[in-house]
């Protein structure tokens, strides 16, 4: 099964996110994006994705939205009725990379695991945290 990851957001976040992700993992044709610009309606995005997902039932679509409860995410909720679509909110670079690199088809368990590991990356980078990393001993190596 093929897989596509579609980033959706208010404004240019999704476009910028795609650019940033590609700096790390290289260009990836499975990754695309839509941004809802000021004055536009989210239905443009939802319709475009719906059309693509219906035309390619053998492809899995992982939609990653910027904000839970935001209108773009809310609009995309209707797409989850399609069996080849999954929707995740709280877009961040770790999550996007995880989903692009995950083998298709991505299961609900894989999404849950990916979210857990991404949450670890959302953290307060304090002095204490930095110091806790510093065990450089042999015993720790082997």
């Amino acid at each position: 099964m093929e897989k596509k990851v579609i980033l959706v957001s208010h404004g240019k976040l999704s476009e910028g996110m795609m650019h940033s992700v590609q700096m790390i993992i290289g260009k990836n044709e499975a990754l695309s994006c839509y941004g809802m610009m000021p004055g536009e309606h989210y239905s443009l995005i939802v319709e475009a994705i719906e059309k693509e997902a219906k035309a390619n039932p053998e492809t899995q679509y992982i939609i990653i939205a910027d904000l839970f409860g935001g209108s773009v995410c809310n609009g995309c909720t209707s797409l989850t009725d399609l069996s080849n679509v999954k929707l995740i909110s709280g877009m961040n670079i770790g999550l996007v990379i995880e989903m692009v690199l995950a083998p298709a088809p991505v299961s609900d368990e894989m999404i849950a695991g990916g979210l857990e590991s991404c949450k670890e990356g959302i953290t307060h980078v304090s002095n204490d945290l930095v110091k806790s990393q510093s065990d450089n001993s042999d015993e720790n190596f082997f």
Binding site: I24, I25, G26, V130, K131, S134, N136, F142
Partner: protein
Amino acid sequence: MISMVRIDDRLIHGQVAVMWSKQLGISRIVVASDKIAANEMQVNALKMAAPAGIKAFILPIQKAVDLLNDPRAASMKILVLSNNPKDIYEVLQGINEKPLLNLANYGRIGGALSDKQKLAETVYVTEEDKEVFKKIFDMGYDFEYQPLPSDTKQSLKELLGGK
């Protein structure tokens, strides 16, 4: 076992932590540098940059060589990093294996770019670097210029004009 040795100004960063570690199934990252190992701030920052499930060690060169030559390291998949060819030359002289060498993101920081020769999009070298590379080539090695696993490999020897 050393899965790969890489020269990269940025050491542990996204391309290395995400893509190469995954591609090679790395379990340990060793940054070999006397200078960096002596800087506690840098050591801690680099350790934090290691991805979940991979332990990073920032070690003086001799210490790194000792660990890499330890029989217990044979069953591990280790990525060795440094930010300059001299360190890598020293590591290669000390270790018992003959690992794959990789290079990307080198020479863009430190010194004026105008004094350097551009070999690839992300690689700039000085005359001094070239001397060191030559010594490494004389040991029977070449480097692959390859920023990401999905990028096409180029031989450093060829980029340097076959010297």
